[in-house]
């Protein structure tokens, strides 16, 4: 039992970093909020942020976030299952490192790697045309496809790492018990693997979804010029229109939509139950 003195001391030691963390997290948001309703406590900036022009970009950003997160999870599930339960133990670390290698590079560089790979005169097209698979080069770059590829490439390692922890904790014998009781592979996935790894999937979603929806570099480097994601509009408002109030309002709207869509996921009782365990 710590004495009162110890408790006070612990409190003092912890309070400074805690205050700093709180200030770093909350203070900029407060400033941003004040800016968004300034200069005269109006909601004009918000009205503008919710106009059809920006609504489309918001929707598109959320859609890209959901879609890419979904693709990352769909790829990470079989990969991490294999790594955690099927891969010979001595190759496990090698496999994990290989899959998470992109984490160690600057993401702008990673994006440009795909420019080089997907451009009309890039590696992939030259390979396909050179081997006679295609007659003319494909327009892969600056499309939704190239943007999604870039996103998956950059964010998959986060999803793989998070899911791996969950997969490793999944007791393989539960799968055997389910099979023994008559479950097909699909039922084993739905009844055992999915519920047991849902916390990992939820954590992975929390980590990557908002960052993808709000990404700036990848859409700018790999995306189609016609499909504008919300981050570019925010940057435009700050830099080109120098309308800080509007930029701040747009940021806030996006923040609320992101949090709202995550909360929507938590409405499902099954997800809530799993999150509580986690």
């Amino acid at each position: 039992m710590p004495t009162v003195n110890e408790q006070t001391r612990d409190g003092l030691v912890a309070s400074l970093p805690a205050l700093l963390a709180l200030a770093l997290g909350v203070f900029p948001l407060v400033v941003l909020f004040v800016e968004s309703i300034g200069p005269s406590l109006g909601v004009g900036s918000y009205r503008k942020a919710l106009s059809p022009l920006y609504r489309g970009a918001l929707l598109y950003s959320v859609g890209v976030g959901v879609g890419v997160t979904g693709i990352c999870l769909a790829v990470a599930y079989p990969v991490t299952y294999w790594l955690a339960h099927r891969c010979p133990a001595r190759y496990r670390l090698v496999g994990l490192v290989a899959l998470t290698l992109p984490l160690w590079l600057n993401y702008v560089v990673l994006n440009y790697a795909w420019v080089w790979l997907l451009a009309r005169g890039g590696v992939l097209n030259r390979l396909l045309v050179g081997t006679g698979v295609l007659d003319t080069a494909l327009d892969l770059l600056y499309t939704d496809v190239s943007m999604v590829i870039g996103f998956v490439y950059i964010y998959l390692p986060y999803v793989v790492l998070t899911m791996y922890v969950s997969m490793e904790r999944l007791d393989y014998r539960l799968l055997q018990a389910a099979r023994d009781l008559g479950a097909t592979d699909w039922r084993v996935f739905v009844d055992i693997i999915l519920p047991r790894t849902l916390p990992g999937a939820a954590a992975a979603t929390l980590i990557v979804y908002a960052r993808i929806a709000g990404a700036f570099a990848t859409p700018a480097i790999l995306g189609s010029p016609g499909n504008v994601m919300i981050a570019r509009l925010m940057v435009q408002a700050f830099r080109e229109y120098v309308d800080y109030g509007f930029a701040a309002a747009l940021s806030f709207v996006f923040l609320i939509i992101t949090l709202g869509s995550l909360a929507l996921g938590a409405v499902s009782p099954r997800v809530r139950r799993e999150l509580r365990r986690w």
């Binding site: 014998r173 389910a178 023994d180 009781l181 009844d191 519920p195």
Partner: protein, 360 residues
Amino acid sequence: MSALAAEGLRKSFGGDLAVDDVSLTLETGEFFSLIGPSGCGKTTTLRMLAGLLDPDAGTVRIDGQAVTDRPARERATNMVFQDLVLFPHMTVAGNVEYGLARDGVAKSERDERVRDALALVDLAGFGDRDPGALSGGQQQRVALARALVNDPSVLLLDEPLASLDRGLREDMRAEFRRIQRDSETTFLYVTHDQESAMSMSDRIAVMREGRIVDSGPPRRLYNRPRTRFVAEFLGDATVLSGEVQSSNGETSVVETPAGTVTTVSSGEHGAGDRVAVAVRPESVTLGEGDWAGTVVDTAYKGFYAEATVDCGGACVVVRRDRTEAPEAPGATDGQDRLFSVDEVVKLRIDRAVLVEHANG
């Protein structure tokens, strides 16, 4: 028709033969135990019977049907796993219901059968609980109910009592026996605990190094073990080596370093054969007889005490109950001793069994 028949099962892992030519036949409604020390291949055998592991050779039949090539989900066997592996994200009822749902049983019938299964294992009303909130013994019962609910032809149990403490284990043994009778299901119980196996089983097979070395009713195995290994694995036994002096088919007279003893034998030995003789501690009478020796070691075992007696080069383990030396009121610890080292005792071997000396 037998509930389960395995013929010539063989399995090796990376060149090591884990199961070597195992054949088993279980009659319907029987409680059969497969016992042996750790690593003898009993769990591997069980997993092959369940369909969780493919045998390298051999066949498995369930209710007369060949199922060797079928996966676990298509076999009429259910398994109770060593650590139970209840589904932690489902309720007790959800766990028990699982096999029925996978078999496509309608919801209303499922509910009824889950209720019956929980009643069978004495857990009526526990359906809504979280399995993690139950005691060890209750979890055992849930695992049993889950595996019994869809009426498997054979229930395979992989040392499910290993993790329980002694008192609970004894209660659960009686419960397993009762549940087996009430459910009229064939049980194949795998364990290294000979005491559990003997108290529950109709028949036992003893495995060693991948092979079945002996099988039969517990009484037969205990009283007439064929090999030294079985004699020592099933309970305590002193094994003395010796030479057959004479044999009449029913009994043999064997000369051992400790003295001459008349043994029960199967009559396959002639005079001059080198053999081994197994003596159970309870078959030795103390204080009379023509063997004599010095106590070299004693062990206090609660209601009895055990002593190792050196009878001229061969040691015999003997026991003495507390009732034979009642505690005097006010006796001190020292006076309570049933044996003391260097004490000279006489003993008589009431019953001995001639066993194979060889391994196996």
